[in-house]
């Protein structure tokens, strides 16, 4: 209620003040029109007395001031025109000092002063010096600030600058600088003191009101930057030190923050570069509550842009040792402000890193240095729990990746892993994913075992359980995504040199073996295929060089592969392991390593016997075994016989009869390989086909018994097709009579009472017959073969 009253009162007072001004302005205009100087002075003094109020907040006072300001402009024009009022400017200057109250007196004096300088009857510097001193008489913060603002306003275009019409003899630029600096200093003092006087007591409101006036103070700095005569030397020797002195001494956080920012924005970047040490030296002396990191970041951003603007300025950066100075300054600030939260320190380092990446992108030692400083800070603090802080650390680690597009660079930074160590397990994984994504995005290749080692250390959060976090706790989808990323990563690790490539494979193996049963099914396969690709590469090269011990040979890699796949038994993952063993068997076959290939087959069979229990899985697995075995050409008769015997045996023992039938006739291909050295055992082919036929018959009978109707004839048609296959290949054991018999059998089955009509098998049979007809029509050798077959 009180405050509302206060506001209402303020409005009332402001209205009164404005009314007062308007009232006196009326008479002032009349006096001016009649060239009555005495009257003009009287009414202008009265008018200005309205500004003597203490009751208005800064915002309202400003409104009042602007009204007065407008009147003073007109008054100045009157003063200037000596012919009208007949008083010389020198006399006028003396005359206005007779005004009763200080404030109106000084406003009038400044106004006359403006005219005085323009008249050039006295050097600008003298008048200005006089005015800036006289204004000292007004110590009330709001009144004094606006008065000096008025002074600044009217003096702006009248400074004794180089090339200005007001330039006098001697070092007048220094006079101009002195004048502005003095006004600035006094204005800042008044501005700071505002918080202790005036009608507003609540801090936030006060700060807000004060904030609105800050440009009045800052304007002076702007003016200084516009003075032609202020070169680097003057800035360095005079302007900056004195401004900083005031900034530090005022001990006011609002002022300090604003003014430091102002300095940085208003003066040229090359000046900042050349005065970096001085500028930075001020920071540790500022109040603890000042948001230094924002200001520092601003400075670093400006300097970064300056560096980007032209390559010519870059040597300057090196010459002034910009990075070192910034780095030291940040260190000092962090040390001095013990209460600064970790997030503040880290974001400072992020800015510094950004600066280093933009200005000194070739200096990896700088980048590493920043990371090192960060490590130091993190080591001294408790474990990061603050979300914002971890985000900053992630930003810190991501910046080099994005800059260099090349994981290699990040891997050479010695402090990179140390920073990552300070992340909690969750964030470590996030960062690890960022690393992997960066590699995938830029299609980079990690090419040495050493780098791979470093990389896998960095992403260890994905590779194994660390610090008691269990893989169980993680959402399954997320876990899969993580592990699939690691799997993809494995394909980006590559070197042309086989020795190095083998080292890489060994390094990856070392890391993934610590991953535990949940991770192995994801990480083992890509490693296996990576190794198989290496084997294939070595196949192309000559065998072992006589007398040299070459580490990378297919044999050694197969030994490694055996161990790697064996780890899957801990999961357990028998189906996957079986497939991988078969892949290795084929590769060993291609290298002509019979015992190695045999060993892999043994492993596959053992898994099939002992671990693959699911019937559907058995069907797929046995077909994979048969398919692989069919392609083996490295086996001698004995080994081959053992394995084919096993394969056929297991085929016949599958659970469902149709599956048995199909697997057994697939085995027929084990005895007939269609290339020149291949086995072509017609008898055993026929044995297989006959066996599958018996199984098909048994299946048919079973169906009759259990269901009352016959099963589909599909199996018979399939077997018929196999007969045709070997018939065409020239297996003498397959006769056209046998084929004819099969065709009749199928027709009989299809027409029997107990037959179940099945369009699919009908179509299949029809297609087959059509094929036979087509072959007959072919003529030549093929046509002759088929001649005796009737459909």
């Amino acid at each position: 209620m009180m405050i509302a009253d206060g506001i209402e009162d303020e409005e009332k007072w402001l209205a009164e003040g404005i009314a007062g001004i308007q009232h006196n302005a009326f008479y002032l205009h009349r006096a001016v029109e009649s060239n009555n100087l005495r009257e003009a002075l009287k009414y202008s003094a009265q008018l200005l007395s309205e500004l003597r109020t203490s009751r208005l907040s800064p915002h309202k006072y400003y409104e009042l001031y602007m009204r007065a300001f407008d009147e003073l402009r007109r008054l100045e024009m009157f003063f200037k025109d000596e012919d009208r009022h007949g008083c010389s400017v020198v006399d006028l200057y003396e005359l206005v000092q007779h005004a009763g109250n200080v404030l109106p007196r000084l406003y009038l004096l400044c106004t006359v002063g403006s005219v005085y300088i323009k008249s050039k009857e006295a050097p600008a510097k003298d008048v200005l010096k006089d005015l800036v001193e006289m204004c000292r008489s007004v110590q009330h913060p709001i009144r004094g600030l606006f008065l000096r603002s008025y002074l600044a306003q009217i003096s702006r275009d009248k400074l004794p600058d180089i090339g200005s019409e007001y330039e006098g003899d001697g070092d007048t630029v220094m006079d101009a600088v002195d004048f502005v600096l003095q006004n600035f200093t006094e204005m800042n003092k008044l501005w700071v003191r505002m918080q202790h006087q005036g009608p507003i007591r609540v801090k936030e409101k006060l700060d807000k009101e004060r904030s609105k006036l800050r440009d009045l103070v800052g304007k002076n700095l702007h003016v200084l930057s516009q003075v032609e005569g202020v070169d680097l030397e003057i800035y360095k020797d005079t302007v900056l030190p004195r401004v900083l002195e005031q900034v530090v001494n005022c001990k006011d956080e609002l002022a300090q923050y604003y003014l430091m920012d102002c300095i940085i924005q208003v003066f040229p970047d090359e000046y900042h570069l050349q005065t970096l040490e001085t500028l930075l030296g001020a920071f540790p002396q500022l109040q603890p509550a000042v948001d230094i990191k924002t200001v520092l970041s601003q400075l670093m951003d400006r300097l970064s842009n300056y560096a980007a603007s032209s390559a010519e300025v870059l040597p300057e950066f090196l010459q002034v040792e910009a990075f070192a100075k910034l780095s030291n300054a940040i260190g000092k600030v962090i040390e001095a402000q013990v209460e600064m939260p970790v997030v503040g320190a880290i974001s400072l380092y992020v800015s510094l890193l950004t600066f280093a990446l933009r200005v000194h992108s070739d200096r990896l030692d700088y980048v590493d240095q920043v990371l090192g400083a960060c490590v130091k800070k993190l080591s001294g603090s408790p474990k990061l729990e603050d979300n914002k802080a971890t985000k900053q650390v992630v930003a810190l680690l991501t910046a080099p990746l994005e800059k260099y597009n090349d994981i290699d660079t990040a891997l050479t930074l010695s402090n990179y892993p140390r920073v990552m160590d300070h992340l909690d397990a969750g964030t470590n994984k996030i960062m690890a994913m960022v690393l992997i994504q960066s590699i995938m995005k830029y299609n980079t290749c990690v090419s040495t075992a050493e780098k791979v080692d470093v990389l896998f250390e960095l992403i260890k959060g994905l590779i194994k359980d660390i610090d008691g976090t269990l893989a169980d706790e993680l959402d399954e989808e997320d876990f899969k995504e993580e592990q699939n990323s690691v799997a993809r990563l494995v394909h980006m690790l590559y070197n042309d040199d086989p020795e190095e490539m083998l080292q890489i494979i060994c390094t990856v193996r070392k890391h993934i073996m610590a991953g535990g049963p949940k991770r192995l099914p994801f990480t083992v396969p890509p490693l296996v295929f990576s190794a198989l690709k290496l084997v294939r590469r070595l196949q192309g090269l000559d065998g072992e060089v006589a007398g040299e011990e070459v580490p990378a040979t297919p044999r050694k890699i197969f030994q490694l592969l055996n161990q790697i796949i064996e780890a899957l038994s801990n999961v357990p993952s028998p189906e996957l392991a079986l497939r991988l063993y078969l892949q290795c068997a084929e590769a060993a076959n291609d290298c002509d390593l019979e015992p190695v290939a045999y060993e892999f087959f043994t492993q596959a069979f053992v898994l099939y016997e002992e671990e693959v229990a699911d019937s559907k899985a058995q069907v797929t697995s046995i077909h994979l075994i048969i398919g692989t075995l069919q392609r083996m050409n490295a086996f001698g008769v004995e080994n081959r016989d053992t394995l084919t015997h096993k394969a056929t045996g297991y085929s016949a023992k599958l659970l469902k009869k149709p599956d048995q039938c199909r697997a057994v006739y697939a085995c027929s291909h084990l005895f007939w390989v269609d290339d020149q050295d291949g086995i072509k055992d017609g008898e055993r082919v026929l044995l297989c086909l006959k066996r599958s036929l018996r199984i098909a018959n048994a299946a048919q009978q079973m169906a009759n018994v259990t269901r009352g109707t016959g099963g589909p004839v599909t199996l018979f048609v399939e077997i018929l097709n196999k007969y045709l296959y070997f018939f065409e290949k020239g297996n003498p054991q397959i006769t056209s009579a046998a084929i004819q018999g099969l065709i009749e059998l199928i027709k009989t089955e299809m027409q029997s009472d107990t037959a179940t009509p099945d369009p699919a098998s009908d179509a299949f049979f029809a297609c087959t017959l059509r094929y036979i007809e087509f072959q007959k029509q072919k003529g030549g050798a093929m046509g002759e073969k088929y001649d005796s077959i009737r459909i």
Binding site: P525, P526, H623
Partner: protein, 192 residues
């Protein structure tokens, strides 16, 4: 004019990290009416990617596929053509054309699409056409050395199908095409 993408054996992530960038930029949603996939994707991410390319997605099971629910074989009719799909590891000897012909007769289809060997093939025989789109990522195969990434786009128009094969050779995408025409029960072909 119906565009059918035949693609398979990507083996992501166990044998390859991803589709080649040049293929990815060519395959955009909204251009293709059907996708037939021979299998061995192997993970859900690849399934989702293909589904996003075209909602009419048909997949058969490869021996490394994460999803064990894909069928062993599939048949579908597009326009005048009956298509059959099967990964191919089930047909022994692997890649044997005559054995594949048997499967074609069994499924009673004009066009049989299979994979497993990672080697592009498109040929015609008495019963129809057999197409192998190869491996879209150029993944390692125990059967084929030096696999180039490849996929097939079929343009089915009335009784005619034009088979475009896209192969990535030494970093460049090369295209070839083969024409097949269905005449009554048999198809004839001309290669370009």
């Amino acid at each position: 004019m119906v565009l059918v993408l035949a693609i398979g054996d990507l083996h992501v992530p166990y044998r390859a990290p991803d589709l080649p960038a040049k293929f990815k930029s060519m395959l955009v949603p909204g251009k293709i009416q059907h996708i037939i996939c021979t299998g061995n994707l192997c993970i859900k991410e690849v399934h989702d990617y293909l589904k996003n390319l075209c909602p009419s997605l048909h997949i058969t099971r490869g021996e490394y596929d994460e999803d064990a629910q894909y069928p062993e074989t599939k048949t579908l009719t597009i326009g005048q053509f009956k298509l059959g799909l099967c990964h191919g590891h089930q047909v022994v000897p692997w890649g044997d054309l005559d054995s594949l012909a048997m499967l074609q007769r069994q499924l009673d289809v004009d066009i049989l699409v299979t994979g497993h060997t990672h080697q592009f093939k498109a040929y015609k025989h008495e019963a129809g056409v057999v197409i192998n789109p190869g491996s879209a990522t150029g993944a390692y195969s125990s059967i084929t050395y030096d696999v180039n990434p490849s996929f097939v786009l079929m343009d089915i128009d009335g009784l005619r199908v034009v088979v475009y094969v896209y192969e990535l050779i030494d970093g460049e995408v090369k295209v070839d095409k083969i024409d097949f025409k269905k005449t009554g029960t048999a198809t004839s072909h001309s290669a370009h």
